[in-house]
Symmetry: C2
Subunit: 318 residues, 2 copies
Amino acid sequence: MTGPRHIPLGKGGEFDAISAALHRWGALAEGVGDDCAVLDVPAGRKMVLSVDNAVENVHFRRTWLSPEEIGYRSAIAAISDLAAMAAVPVGIAVSLTLPESWRGDFLRICDGIGEAARSTGTRIIGGDLTRGGELALAISAVGHVAEPLARRGARPGDALWVTGRLGGPLLAVRAWDRGTAPQGEVRARFARPTARVAEAQWLLAHGASAGMDVSDGVVSEAGHLAAAGGVHVIVNLDRLPLVAGATPEDAARSGEEYELLVTAPAALDAAAFEAEFGLPVTCIGAVAPPMPGEPAVEALRGGRRVELPRGHDHFPVM
Amino acid sequence: MTGPRHIPLGKGGEFDAISAALHRWGALAEGVGDDCAVLDVPAGRKMVLSVDNAVENVHFRRTWLSPEEIGYRSAIAAISDLAAMAAVPVGIAVSLTLPESWRGDFLRICDGIGEAARSTGTRIIGGDLTRGGELALAISAVGHVAEPLARRGARPGDALWVTGRLGGPLLAVRAWDRGTAPQGEVRARFARPTARVAEAQWLLAHGASAGMDVSDGVVSEAGHLAAAGGVHVIVNLDRLPLVAGATPEDAARSGEEYELLVTAPAALDAAAFEAEFGLPVTCIGAVAPPMPGEPAVEALRGGRRVELPRGHDHFPVM
């Protein structure tokens, strides 16, 4: 089943399934088959690596998404971590644990992974396939960058900016939990997120001092930027850009957005950004010097400080 | 709980558990906390990446191993893939899916991962922690190499060599399956394998033309070298180096050995290798031109061709 330019694999069920996936991916997965992927890193660039785990019934339910969407968003989640550092994605490796009940969907999951790779200019460079009791995709993404956009680096006087419109994933999960089906933008924001690869590079080139992607809710992530940078971050919930139907509190808590949260000059040219990407970038707060005895991040609503909505925590307190 | 040189993380159970692991790893995990790991690749070197998945009840059972051993051997399996290409390991990233029933063992698993990193000169550069229904460790290992030892490259006239002594993991699993406890070298070969990092670099420097590690049984792996190189490979089972108690058939089928299987000149100085590493390297076969209509690999026993013992296939035919 391997394409002519793939390194031939030997016999066995695991290898047959992998061969079928490689055939499906075609040129996207050219060269896969050795013990490791081998990649050139351009001179003067650093290598970046990110891993992201998507587990059935933790990150999604089977009834929510098509197999293609499960593969797609798992790969995008890992690629989004590269985007968060303004890196150029190069390749993803896929560790897939596949239960018996999912075998018939294997190639559809692979198709979604392929779509994520194709849409971000990324190749599939390796992986590992295991049977198991629950569907799990652990995706490793590698890329390169000259100087990464890191979490530390926020400076007092910067503004806090976020791309896109928030709240979609939270509203989608809420709808599914209620037994209804989310629609339109709300569903798409959960099922078909975008990794903001070019957007991050633009923001870095236009003065972003620190950044990350919104995996765990924008206020929670602002707390990470504050802690890493040793600064105080103020999030103005009234300014959060919202998908239709979301409240500011929804938007503040919604995770797995894969939008970018950056600290950058208040004079950032948001109109130029929107003209280039067809996507808003919105000033939602400010960076202040550290305030001893105060929490590192505070949320304002109607001009008053409010209790921070908790972020999205996949892993309850041990 | 984070050490002073770690990038501080925000609040939440996932972050607290990760902080505890980072604290335990200390300098081994220095700098972890951004969206991606950032690594320098020395000029003139290529980057290599490998991923390896270890799932409870597929790769091991809880009653067989200590939590430290589970962490250790999962990390070694990924690092061994780098060794197989004669690469220098630099870092590992750990995607861990942790069921409720394993939470009390979390830090002991981390200790084992740390031991594997320390013993191979590798750092822990990132990861992802998820709850889930079954324990799974997806480890990504990155390193660099000038010119990798690849699976393709075997030339007719080469000999086939293997490091170490084979059969231990198969005998260990057989003992556990019978309800007895494997002992000594047999248990150690399963529970405490070694990634042959320096050994692979020595073999490459001494003329190895192709190579891989023995994850799936030496005859099965020889088939991969034959297929990738477009050659015919002969494995002489009578020559397989055996752990005490193993038959040649056991040794031929035993997987997860993490020994190196290479094609190299027949004149390879095995005594010098053994003097350097305290480990045998044994000539177990030969590389011939491709034979149309014949299987790519054949096994000999007592001078006669025998049916190939099946390798270790984690994933039954779909």
